[in-house]
């Protein structure tokens, strides 16, 4: 097991370098002047001053080299647009917000989605199954911007139940965005759990356990649930990464100072260092997320452990 982990960890370094190179080259390809924010043209001397200050007048390989050096010393560089902050500051102030939002959304997805799926599977083809799957399918298909808009309209404006329309301050303000972001994973989990449980319920060993006379709850709890959750864990990893990185629409609609919204605006603003810094951050999250999932998978499903080593 440890060999596996170490090997995977070693692989992350070239992967990370590749990610940095990709983003670096891509960003440089996009035309646009990071220092021209309004229609006012930047006078030549000022442009020269700015290029000099941010080392943009150096050849690209030098810039790349300096940047990589910076990454491995945990210095992600200054922001070209936010002149009094550097990327580390931006990450420090915004990333925890996105993390929190993603975590709550995920929590909602698990707390609502998994029981929903279990219920649907246990009461397969009965009315409660249909209703549960109706909710799940709605969450799956309806785009999150509509979910967010409807939630705001009904709960914050029309019925005014005490949740604000935007912001991320009090606990009340965290409710709607978490639900809006968590709706899709919730649906995903519900469907997935239902599917895997149904499959597992048909397996021979379950029938054997039932035939042996074990109580249904024990059957369900012990064997079925644990085995049904394996695909859920596999899906959870990338899904969590997707939730954290794809939250920018929710962040825009709810005016949440998170990192997703920042990413989009940094690309538009050509804030190279912010874009690259955040890409690296995401890459690290995704890579380690996958690693954790793989390890968990190894623990949960003994069959794969042998196959891997």
């Amino acid at each position: 097991m440890t060999k596996f982990v170490i090997r995977r960890l070693l692989w992350t370094i070239p992967v990370l370098l590749l990610v940095i190179l990709f983003t670096f080259l891509l960003m440089r390809q996009i035309k646009g002047n990071p220092f021209r924010k309004t229609e006012r043209a930047v006078p030549a001397s000022i442009q020269a001053n700015l290029d000099r200050k941010f080392h943009l007048d150096e050849p690209w390989y030098e810039q790349y080299g300096n940047y990589v050096k910076g990454v491995f010393t945990a210095d992600l560089g200054p922001s070209l647009v936010l002149r009094n902050q550097n990327v580390n500051d931006i990450v420090r102030s915004h990333f925890p917000v996105s993390l929190e939002l993603g975590a709550y959304a995920f929590l909602f997805a698990i707390v609502v989605g998994i029981p929903l799926g279990v219920l649907a599977a246990l009461r397969a083809n009965k009315p409660s199954d249909y209703i549960a799957m109706l909710v799940a399918n709605a969450g799956f298909a309806v785009p999150s911007f509509l979910v967010a808009t409807l939630l705001i309209y009904y709960f914050a404006v029309k019925w005014d139940v005490g949740v604000p329309t935007s912001g991320w301050t009090t606990w009340q303000s965290k409710v709607l965005p978490s639900i809006a972001l968590g709706f899709f994973p919730m649906a995903y989990f519900a469907r997935l759990v239902r599917g895997t449980m149904l499959e597992t319920l048909q397996q021979d060993y379950v029938r054997t356990a039932k035939a042996k006379g074990l109580r249904p709850q024990r059957v369900v709890g012990l064997h079925v649930l644990r085995n049904s959750l394996i695909p859920v864990v596999t899906a959870a990893g990338p899904l969590l990464g997707a939730v954290i990185t794809g939250s920018f629409i929710i962040e825009t609609i709810f005016a949440i100072p998170g990192i997703g919204r920042y990413y989009v605006s940094s690309v538009s603003a050509r804030d190279y260092s912010v874009t690259m810094g955040l890409t690296i951050l995401y890459a690290v999250i995704v890579i380690f997320g996958n690693l954790v999932v793989d390890i968990l998978y190894g623990f949960l499903d003994p069959r794969t452990r042998e196959a891997r080593t």
Binding site: V15, L26, P143, F145, T245, S268, V284, V286, I287, N290
Partner: protein, 312 residues
């Protein structure tokens, strides 16, 4: 659960069918092919059939309405703005007096078009990459998979955004390219996984032992068996691509006006949703409709083409 006799028979045959498509000795001999069987099984799945019908309805709506519509979807006439739904304007009109029934259909053409184009592109690239990686195996496979890992590290939508910025203006093909580049890795992984698992099959080993050349093995045995998985994959990937396009359009990085996609129509609608909620609801419902249909069709196809995966 009670099945009708026809369903019973297919279930029976499905459960006794061997891997790889042979017929067990002693089984009833019936002149039929994999595809006919699949079709019958699909037809028996009610939800999939309904979804298929609804999907075709949606396609017809998008294709036919703009052809027969009496309204010019690009004409600007402010006196007709924001009309409520009526017989001549089933969905009402937008801010410029343009008929929304027609615009939604046109938007559908673009959204669905981008969806299918991108999905097929993803499939093609994925097949090539995955087939090579899975088939060749060994260190090449390892290297190619690590490279994929690197690409996985790039977050999907932001990466698509970066790619759209590489081009001056965003049109249909730019969106297709951006969405394809951002999401072809899953296809490659799936294909590779399939190829690897099939590679070890007896019949493939047999073919190799007999001396069949690699491209024959690939094209005659491996790929046709992955075809089922791939068709299902198209309908599974479609929603992701459509949602991706909708999200990009929603934040304003979508297709140029006056062309519209469902995502950009939704964005237009959001600004006025307090006064005219239908303008955001209609394109969102259209998206949801498409996604649900795609899913049930995918479920149905998967059950139909690969009966091993389900037991009920």
């Amino acid at each position: 659960m009670v099945l009708n006799p026809q369903q019973e028979e297919f279930r029976e045959r499905a459960m006794t069918r061997e891997r790889g498509g042979g017929v067990e000795a002693g089984a009833p001999v019936r002149q039929t092919s994999l595809w006919r069987d699949a079709w019958y099984r699909y037809r028996a799945n009610r939800a999939a059939v309904v979804a298929g019908v609804l999907f075709i309805v949606l396609l017809l709506y998008c294709i036919l309405v703009p052809i027969f519509s009496p309204h010019d979807p690009y004409a600007v006439d402010f006196s007709e703005a924001y009309l409520s739904p009526s017989l001549s304007h089933p969905f009402g009109t937008d801010q410029y007096g343009r008929d929304l029934f027609t615009r939604t259909a046109l938007g559908g053409r673009i959204s669905i078009g981008i969806g299918f184009a991108a999905t097929i592109a993803i499939m093609v690239i994925g097949i090539v990459y995955g087939a090579i990686s899975g088939f060749v195996g060994g260190r090449v496979d390892n290297g190619m998979m690590r490279f994929l890992d690197a690409l996985y590290g790039l977050p999907y939508l932001p990466f698509a955004i970066i790619v759209t910025q590489l081009f001056r203006t965003v049109d249909f093909w730019v969106m297709v390219i951006a969405l394809t580049i951002a999401s072809w890795f899953t296809a490659a992984r799936v294909v590779r996984g399939q190829i690897i698992s099939l590679k070890e099959n007896d019949y493939v080993r047999a073919a190799k032992a007999v001396g069949a050349r690699w491209h024959r093995v690939l094209s005659r045995h491996l790929l046709p068996n992955t075809l089922g998985v791939l068709i299902v994959f198209v309908f599974l990937e479609l929603p992701g691509v459509i949602l991706g396009e909708a999200f990009l359009s929603f934040i304003g990085l979508g297709i140029n006006p006056p062309k519209a996609s469902w995502g950009s129509l939704a964005q237009d609608g959001r600004d006025v949703y307090l006064a005219h909620p239908s303008m955001i609801l209609i394109p969102s419902i259209a998206i949801a409709w498409l996604i649900l249909c795609a899913f049930f069709i995918a479920d149905g196809l998967r059950d139909a083409l690969d009966p091993r995966t389900r037991e009920t």
